[in-house]
């Protein structure tokens, strides 16, 4: 058996992010680079100003909507599962289950396989393709919720909490803070699955992404804009960016009750700090058991942990007998979840 080159010789962080040497491209670089593979459209992964960009068609469309000209000079879509030769490596994009269009990047080089997870989750999500497991030699994983305290309860229960609160407080507008891409549309879809058929009102900042999901055929029901109504929306659900919670914008509503859909809502201190009355623990990231399960299932003999709670995950994975290390990458914003 030929000696295989160490992973660090062909995949390593540099000043712009994670760089694949024999393919000559970065994965989710923080700064503008000539050639980038982008895992998904969130702004801490899809930065503006790259030269050539390779991503799923949905991710490219999302980047165009959010970044306009900044999406990249030449955009190349790649279907899930399709293999593409890039210089000396083969690249595939595989569903990551995080948001619409999100992908893991699978790179094969000299008989070895590395998987860069991007952001991912194993929980089912009606608004994106389910995570697909890819066995590999090197697994580069995120660790946003890399502590055993983070275990996301079933999302159906969280949505039930929201609907129950509408019954307790029918005189109050339920304003729920959501991340505009992914969480917003997933929460609407979950409400519909729970039988909630009233309109879900949207802040203007959530419009374009939600319209994109609608155009892609997701049945989200009536989602009017707040700006199109003069009503105070008592007893209704309004979705907004988290920054609009308890802000002047919310004064138009009837005694607004602030909710927030995020994995961070599991920690009481964070709920209080944000002045949230109705925390909904709905996350688009793996929780602790899912991280460990995924690492074990990939069969990787080496694990690199990119962003989040690296210390704890490295500690636990090492106990499993797998070589693990933290990989410090610049520019990740785990708080935005």
């Amino acid at each position: 058996m030929p000696v295989q080159p160490p992973f660090e010789s062909w995949l390593r962080p540099d000043g712009s992010g994670l760089y694949c040497v024999p393919g000559d491209f970065h994965i989710d670089p923080h700064a503008a680079v000539p050639r980038a593979v982008i895992t998904h459209g969130h702004s801490d992964h899809a930065r503006p100003g790259h030269g050539a960009v390779l991503a799923t068609a949905d991710t490219l469309e999302i980047m165009k909507l959010r970044l306009g000209q900044g999406a990249g000079d030449s955009l190349q879509p790649l279907d899930y599962g399709e293999a593409l030769k890039v210089r000396d490596v083969t690249v595939r994009l595989v569903p990551a289950g995080h948001i619409l269009g999100s992908a893991q990047v699978v790179i094969e080089y000299q008989g070895q396989r590395a998987v860069i997870s991007g952001d991912y989750k194993r929980h089912a999500d009606p608004t994106c393709e389910a995570y697909e497991l890819v066995p590999c030699d090197l697994f580069i994983t995120e660790a946003t919720f890399g502590l055993p305290i983070y275990r996301h309860e079933p999302d159906t229960g969280e949505v039930a909490k929201l609907i129950a609160s509408l019954k307790d407080f029918p005189e109050r507008t339920h304003q729920v803070g959501v991340y505009g891409l992914g969480k917003c549309q997933r929460l609407i879809a979950l409400l519909r699955q729970a039988g909630f058929d009233r309109p879900v009102y949207l802040h203007g900042a959530l419009r374009s992404m939600t319209d994109y999901y609608l155009a892609r055929g997701f049945a989200l029901g009536p989602v009017p804009s707040v700006s199109d109504t003069k009503e105070k929306l008592a007893g209704e659900i309004v979705l907004s960016p988290p920054s609009a919670l308890g802000d002047r914008w919310s004064r138009r509503f009837a005694d607004p009750l602030a909710g927030f859909a995020s994995g961070w809502m599991r920690i009481r201190g964070r709920v209080r700090q944000r002045g949230v009355e109705l925390p909904l623990i709905i996350s688009d990231h793996c929780d602790w058991p899912e991280l460990l399960q995924t690492i074990a299932e990939t069969g990787a003999r080496e694990v690199w942990v990119t962003h989040g709670r690296e210390d704890a995950l490295v500690h636990e994975v090492s106990k499993m007998g797998v070589k693990a290390r933290a990989l410090a990458l610049v520019g990740r914003e785990d708080e935005a979840e």
């Binding site: 055993p148 307790d168 919310s250």
Partner: protein, 528 residues
């Protein structure tokens, strides 16, 4: 447990009083006995069980979690019990959660060694919120921002009764309050409380407005000093004595010297004070004795407590509340003459020749270190609550100081989108450099329009944000009104204001002309 966990969870995050009442009302209506009664106990006087939570958690933690992961997790969470609730490995998801009544019964029956096993098997059967709520429940005092009074109010509202009715019964009942709920649901008669000393709702006073003063006839009113202590109701019967706070909390345990001597058959209304050699000590001295479960000998010597009675609700089993103030006062004086216990005296009734004389007396109260005057209508019966036109409190005029706004914080409920809580400072000089030192915080005293203006000022003059708090350019002067300044070791400035509020917004005044810390410190002695 599930319903209780949801209730506690929602209560901790619901800032408004009405919101909390709604959540509790719905809970008490929907939850069966005896669980709701134990929940009520947890929210009011505490549970009739004790559980060595801290020790048990330390014991079982070792065997259940990796210490390194626990340490990292504890760092993210900031609270040990919450960390345990979150980190607890799920072993029997979907198992039947224990009922509150099961928990109480099992803890009561468990020996010293059995606690860890009990807690472990309950935690195994609960979800994260349930585990957190169970740990809160077992800790004895859930601290979810609900006063005992508010919980009783919710019970009253849930079944269409008055909260005073519940207060009257309260100290004759015990968890899980089956008699109470039976009566509320009209399954039985109102419980009889004749054999025990129970709390009677207090008669409260209104602040005297200028217009009312103008129309007031001195002949109709008796005047007393307004004492700077806390209101207390001493209820004694059949050898049992209880001391109730104005909200009906039994606080007698912290005052054994009073319980020892107050052996009588009466329900009396008065002021709890620290009195040395006949002189009333500042409120700060009394604070040393408040909010304690037990008290040391040394504390009792250093801060000797005393009750100054001013009304009688019941004497020798006879309800006096229907009598006029004048008649109750005669009964009180006669009783105290004969039975007055040590550590007590009567609040003197003051007489004045004219309203002008009374007004002059009031104006001198601050210099004399007196909080103000009380005016009580001579022919009024003792009426529960705060009826209009019977009792007036006439507080001494407030002090004011010009301070500079330093920080602003968002309010709660209807004010959640407004920066409505202001930290303000005064000038202090050190080594020739003048800096603003925070001296207090105020969140009232302004109109809605003024609040909107202040909110705009904060947003336009923000320097930095810290979560819900912003620091602002120190340039807006607030005239702050307050009752007194006290020394305080807990504050960096060395002082604490009593009852501060914004009295005027001085848009016109330059910050450099605001008051100094020295000026405020000088008020400490002036208030005595």
């Amino acid at each position: 447990m599930k319903a209780f966990a949801t209730l506690l969870d929602r209560l901790t995050y619901t800032p408004s009083r009405n919101g909390k009442l709604t959540l509790m009302r719905n809970y008490f209506r929907a939850t069966p006995d005896p669980d709701r009664g134990f929940a009520l106990a947890a929210l009011t006087d505490g549970l009739p069980i004790s559980f060595p939570l801290r020790r048990v958690l330390a014991d079982i933690g070792e065997s259940r979690f990796d210490p390194e992961l626990f340490r990292l997790s504890r760092h993210d969470v900031g609270d040990t019990a919450e960390t345990v609730a979150l980190i607890w490995p799920v072993t029997q998801a979907g198992a039947d959660a224990p009922r509150l009544s099961d928990v109480v019964a099992a803890v009561s029956a468990a020996g010293r060694g059995g606690h860890a096993a009990l807690l472990t098997q309950w935690l195994d059967r609960l979800d994260a919120t349930g585990r957190w709520a169970l740990l809160k429940f077992l800790s004895g005092a859930p601290r979810v921002g609900v006063s005992a009074r508010l919980a009783k109010q919710a019970v009253a509202d849930a079944f269409g009764q008055g909260v005073d009715d519940i207060e009257e019964l309260w100290h004759g009942l015990a968890p899980p309050y089956l008699q109470l709920f039976d009566w509320l649901e009209q399954k039985s008669e109102r419980p009889s409380m004749s054999a025990t000393p129970i709390f009677r709702p207090l008669m409260l006073a209104h602040a005297l407005e200028d217009a009312e003063w103008a129309g007031l006839d001195l002949q109709d009113f008796a005047a007393e000093w307004k004492w700077d202590g806390i209101r207390i109701q001493a209820a004694a019967k059949g050898g049992v004595t209880r001391l109730f706070s104005r909200t009906g909390d039994d606080i007698g345990g912290a005052f054994p010297e009073l319980l020892d001597h107050f052996k009588f058959d009466a329900i009396l209304d008065g002021e709890l004070l620290v009195v040395r050699d006949g002189a009333v000590a500042p409120f700060a001295d009394l604070q040393q004795r408040l909010n304690r479960k037990s008290v040391t000998r040394a504390m009792m010597v250093k801060y000797p407590v005393h009750v100054r009675f001013y009304d009688a609700l019941e004497i020798g089993g006879e309800d006096l509340r229907g009598l006029s103030f004048t008649d109750r006062r005669k009964r009180l004086e006669a009783w105290h003459q004969e039975f007055g216990p040590p550590h007590s005296d009567l609040s003197a009734v003051l007489s004045f020749d004219s309203k002008d004389a009374l007004k002059l007396r009031w104006e001198a109260t601050r210099e004399e270190g007196i909080e103000g005057l009380m005016l009580k209508r001579r022919d009024s019966p003792y009426l529960a609550g705060r009826p209009k036109g019977h009792w007036y409190k006439w507080k001494r005029a407030a002090l004011t100081a010009d301070c500079v706004m330093l920080y602003a914080q968002k309010g709660a409920g209807k004010r959640s989108s407004f920066y409505s809580d202001y930290t303000f400072g005064a000038w202090a000089e050190k080594d020739g450099v003048r800096t603003l030192v925070p001296v207090g915080k105020a969140y009232s005293g302004f109109t809605d329009d003024e609040l909107a203006q202040l909110d705009r000022f904060v947003r336009q003059n923000t320097i930095e944000r810290f979560g819900p708090v912003r620091s602002v350019t120190p340039k807006l002067v607030l005239e702050v009104a307050f009752d007194a300044v006290q020394e305080s070791a807990r504050h960096k400035s060395g002082i604490a204001m009593r009852f501060p509020r914004v009295s005027r917004i001085r848009w016109d005044k330059p910050a450099a002309e605001a008051d100094t810390l020295e000026t405020l410190k000088a008020l400490i002695s002036a208030a005595r």
